[in-house]
Symmetry: C3
Subunit: 315 residues, 3 copies
């Protein structure tokens, strides 16, 4: 693996899942791989799970880690080609990235969408400039449109808990006070459409995701109907893709409740976290034995470790 | 040792002091203990000594460290049970903590009191939620009411410098422009009351600490009388416990001066730092040969290392 | 080497350059040197290149690193002797520094000038207090007047690319929207005046640097004349030293353009980065094959590593 930015960078998904599960059993089996290697983690936005799990993953592989919060610790970066830089931005992203690539063997980058201009956000300018200018492998720590480390952990978790060979997995939209990116649901749909699951996506009308990620999914606007027979309920809020970045609904009837969970086939409850309790999901559900959100979060570590291992083996 | 949050977590105080002194002589004797272990340090408030000394301590033990400034780098955490999270807080502390526990083998946490509601502050909600939800050993890096790593370093310093078997140790309140927590004086009193010292606490009326920490101490409102015959003067400001969080006095007559030090038995001067020079203590005192504040700060490293070693041996 | 704050700390400049070039070939040859050693990096101002390159350098030498952003993570420091500290500053720099010296084996410090009071800035109070109070070797990560790690990397780069034994090197002032320190040009001039080069400095009148750094250079106010026959064009903005901290010109006629580069002896283009594209230098120049800015930045790593190695060998 050269870069890791989407499911498309993975040649064999089930082999990668097996790799994750192996590392979970043998965390330190490849500690020699990272010797004398440095991973740079660049955060343009806050991060807890991704930051901690990726740091731990690289430590397990014997790598050193340098963390940099670029907007806070560094400076504002220019990203337009040919810009006359007499404003706020002190450095062009292509210079900053080329320099980082001189000091790091692998770079992880997190950037968030503006949620204002869909075309700009979906062009993935920041991620693509890192790939173009760094000269070293790039790992997406969540980009403007996708969050593949999360989705790999999600798939592994489903693999661990599924009761049938091709389980029904439901991605349900849920209300939230703020406008959130589509990266997690886009990415979850993209991975599930390539996995052995029956994916159903349920949301209010107007919340349809980009079809290039949902091509293999069933869209069901009736949440209760969607829940019937599900083995996994994956809750997540996102802002509208069609009316880009807008909040079209805060309807609490979409909150995942214990009553709705009764419609499922004793489904496990999943969420990528952080989660707004009693808005996205009721305490009763997330605190129930069927909730596997912490185990899902724990798998972030092994997913990151498998990806870093694959990249280290390739370099 | 499972957790380290107060003197009550220590079964044998003098054995722990000996351990600290041993590590000071042999810093790298237990470097194998921390292999493949990760310490997460979570700061909800700024820290210099605790942060640097605990990082160094874990490096000496061969551990990796991940530092996270939670209010700055992460997000605002909800701590109320059952909250409908449609406000500012993006994550419940119990979810965040449970996740951190998946990636770290030991977690250190610093939180500060509000100094507004005594009952809330003294309930130690943040620390207790870490203990309850992390699933890994918790080290207090200063909590709302106690600072045990500081107190252990203080006790070790007194052990090193005492001239008599049971020295007179004076904790003196001193003025300060801001309202400060009671954590350091509470904790110092708690540890001294369990050690072989004669503890006298002196402060203006109204600055009485919680008696559960001062049960074995003499309270003396006359600062000069308190200083007579002292082997150690430990200066510290704190806000009122009775009129909770209030500043009742900024009286510079309480500043530790060279004249007052003459009343003592050539006492050593101690302070946990940071210190407001010429407000809490005159330059003449803190810069004198009797001042052991830097040696006291240096002992923070070995205190932290002994505590981490004990926890690593227990896990 | 005890401290590294200026070219004056270097006994044999060409031997140090050779050391840098050796480490570039054998990065891990001295990994044992840093065992059980901790480097503390204290930033009072943002940093990207210095921060990442120095972290990587110490990792290559087997050291542990602790990074601390002091104004952000810690607290405001007092630096005046004898101050009555009842204002904002929570700690005196001499106490903070003495404490840091207890936990770190080497300390790197970055501080920036106020650009308001020349006498104060050129007194290097922060750096000198670190040297005076830390009790461990100090490395300047850029001080108020000099940036020796940058200059060493610059000299190494010139050594690698020069076509003649004593190349003509031109330091050219260039416009910039903000008032910048003189640290980089001062330091570049100081090192070049001690190296086998023919240094010409060109800038508008009023931008003369402190003569103690430029004693061995030719000052040429006609930029085009200065460029003639140059092997290296080193562009940099700085604010006025004479009218201290002032911007006297933003004249784009001083921008380094492709036309001006034609006047040179096929000169290489250098800049310490970050650079304001199309203000300091046109895209056409910095993106040309003659631009060696990224290779120059890469040398920051080996320069830092050589300096740390020298200090480790001395301790």
């Amino acid at each position: 693996m050269k870069h890791f930015t989407s499911v498309k960078d993975v040649t064999n998904i089930s082999a990668l899942v097996e790799e994750v599960l192996f590392l979970k059993q043998q965390p330190y089996a490849f500690k020699h791989l990272g010797e004398n290697k440095v991973l740079g983690l660049i955060f343009m936005n806050p991060s807890l799970r991704t930051r901690l799990s990726t740091q731990r993953a690289s430590m397990n592989l014997g790598m050193n880690v340098i963390v940099m919060d670029i907007n806070k610790e560094g400076w504002k970066l220019e990203s337009r080609e040919g810009a006359v830089m007499d404003g706020d931005a002190a450095e062009h992203v292509k210079d900053a990235v080329a320099v980082m690539g001189q000091y790091c063997d692998i770079i992880g980058i997190r950037s968030f969408p503006s949620l204002e201009n869909r075309e700009d956000d979906y062009a993935e300018n920041v991620l693509n400039q890192f790939i173009r200018y760094a000269g070293v492998p790039i790992v997406s720590l969540e980009s403007t449109t996708l969050h593949p480390l999360q989705s790999l952990a999600d798939l592994v978790t489903i693999q661990e808990y599924k009761k049938t060979p091709k389980p029904k997995v439901v991605l349900t939209w849920a209300p939230h006070p703020k406008a959130l990116p589509q990266a997690v649901p886009n990415s979850f749909a993209e991975w599930m459409c390539n996995a052995e699951v029956d994916l159903v996506i349920t949301h209010p009308e107007g919340y349809e995701l980009d079809e290039k990620y949902t091509w293999n999914a069933t869209i069901e606007y009736d949440q209760k109907k969607a829940f019937e027979g599900a083995e996994f309920i994956y809750a997540k809020n996102w802002s509208s893709y069609k009316q880009y970045g807008k909040i079209l609904s805060k309807d609490r009837n979409w909150t995942v409740s214990a009553d709705k969970m009764k419609l499922t086939n004793e489904a496990y409850f999943m969420h990528c976290l952080p989660v707004r309790r009693n808005v996205v999901v009721d305490d009763e559900v997330i605190d129930s034995p069927q909730s596997i959100v912490i185990k899902q979060a724990a798998n972030r570590l092994w997913a990151a470790q498998a990806v870093l291992k694959k990249i280290l083996e390739h370099t």
